[in-house]
Assembly symmetry: C2
Homo-oligomer: 336 residues x 2
């Protein structure tokens, strides 16, 4: 069988074969092997974090990753930035009839590899197949469960942010969006831009274990850094001042953005966490982040201010300033 | 705004409007309102059940339900048949550009209503929009978390099934599949068949609270009753003998199956639980199930036997018998 058939989604023999030969084979773990209608997990005394994300990225393979890696890392990151230790993931596939089984296997192997790196288990799943032309190759939903230590339960709300706190990012902006755009449009830049797609939970847990004044974290995915910061200030009595000169952006990404009229502030990332932390701890946080391969280009990029509550203002490299607003329309559809 | 635009999936302003005006408005609860990247839930000391399901049913509205009701009830049922008390659901939408907002709202209202009936909360979500023609109206993933009491932790594995145990079902077979088929093909039967789509958690918890010899439960969805029973006997040292005369099937469903060449044993249900319980408790279980509106047509339909291990055999009404095998191909695609 080299292509996915409607019967692979029937719940019957073909479904069983696909589950055994592909999903169970690769995701293999004792919880999954029970094959119940639900996975049974050990109890969690501490608070639970629960999140979900559907991935529809086009194309499914791109430099630096694929929809499978993205689906695991994306949900791991949603848990990690909420102050949780990611533990378990579900994986649900909507597959277009005719998808080469080899493509699906490549995606499943990639998920397995990323799950191993992140130290989480894929414990339950589902497969649906729709007629040709009724979806686009494959969509993947991952939902995730994590454990939140009591001292980190406030991070998801960001209640402790005050003027003077620093805004930190763990590296360059816009790599994912530009990598996917280039792959979709078959563009060839002089330097290939790779997606930054990665699980950040180990970087983040290292920080949460060492520092006590991390106020808030958010991964800057759809809508980019700008949207995250706008959401953070919105309805709050503080603003954020961003320093354009401090923003890390790869030259190739700057170039691509100039050609297509995109602003790197709004381009999606898939391995970037925005951290708000006290000014006192920020330099040490940067130092520690740079020890991790996923944080070598970490930088303090701005500051929480009382001047313009509810607003994000960019201090430009040439000495001006402009308000950074939330994305109004759609810059790049199907980026994640 | 009367149609869904790509911008509704951008993570920017339009996404925020859709989330506030539609999802938060209807699903409203204190956990969801935090709007973090993950929902924070109270800890659960007992074992956790975790499940996921993506729904791609075509058409999205059908007699007796819609994709929203189905998405809530389906995941609630996967938790309930695993012996869990369903607590929290996630809801993730993949929407085709151009879907009328009124259709989406109708679906969201239906999810809200079914969640209320089932006594669960929708605590986290996600929205993606894909270009017109890249999916079919709307696909919904729901994942769910439940709590499993220690005395029910064996149900998901079905370890305690023995010859002599009875096979029970809570009502008529094939209603969902035939209702969706009729709606899809715009068929008009003399009697409209309504989907049995319903959350069974209260019916099931009533049984688990009253009886101690329920060995196993499974909801008979894709692949129908036949597939569930084949999965249950497969690789086991017992078989199941089904009594055709005892199978509850509506006359209109029998008629539709005859016309289209379907076997009600294989047609999908969305509100039917198959229970295996001791012969001693089975009559009392039936009595209790009949007190619930979702169990009025409950019946003992077969028995666990040692005669033909690993096999399901149907004793036909005319005195013959035939082996019931797992669905080989695809009978009705996109039924759930």
């Amino acid at each position: 069988m080299d292509k996915i058939l409607l019967g692979h989604g029937s719940g019957g023999k073909l479904s069983h074969e696909l589950i055994s030969n592909l999903f169970m084979h690769h995701f293999s773990n004792n919880i999954l092997l029970v094959q119940g209608d639900a996975a049974l997990l050990p109890g969690i005394n501490e608070q639970l974090a629960f999140t979900t994300d559907s991935f529809v990225v086009d194309p499914v393979f791109f430099p630096g990753g694929d929809i499978g890696k993205l689906a695991v890392a994306g949900t791991v990151n949603d848990l990690a930035v909420s102050g949780a230790e990611p533990l378990y993931l579900s994986a649900s596939f909507i597959i277009e009839e005719g998808l080469p089984v080899s493509d699906l296997e490549r995606i499943v192997v990639s998920m397995t590899e990323e799950a191993r790196k992140a130290g989480i288990q894929i414990v339950t799943g589902d497969t649906k197949v729709v007629n040709r032309g009724k979806c686009d190759k494959v969509f993947i939903n991952t939902s995730g469960i994590g454990r939140v230590k009591p001292q980190h339960a406030g991070i998801v709300k960001g209640n402790g942010i005050y003027p003077g706190d620093k805004v930190i990012i763990n590296g360059t902006l816009g790599d994912h969006g530009i990598a996917v755009l280039a792959a979709r449009e078959s563009l060839h830049f002089e330097t290939t831009v790779h997606s930054d797609c990665a699980s950040l939970n180990q970087l983040i847990s290292g920080l949460l274990g060492s520092f006590s004044e991390i106020r808030f974290m958010r991964d800057a995915t759809r809508g980019g850094l700008a949207t995250v910061l706008c959401e953070t200030t919105m309805h709050n009595d503080f603003g954020i001042r961003l320093d354009e000169a401090a923003l890390p952006v790869k030259e190739a990404v700057v170039g691509a953005c100039e050609i297509f009229g995109y602003d790197p502030l709004y381009v999606a990332n898939e391995g970037k966490v925005v951290i708000i932390a006290s000014a006192a701890e920020a330099p040490q946080i940067i130092k520690k982040m740079k020890e991790n391969p996923l944080g070598t280009d970490s930088a303090i990029i701005g500051e929480v201010v009382s001047d313009h509550p509810g607003k994000v203002v960019l201090e430009t490299s040439i000495g001006g300033s402009r308000i950074v607003d939330m994305l109004a329309g759609e810059q790049l559809p199907r980026i994640c």
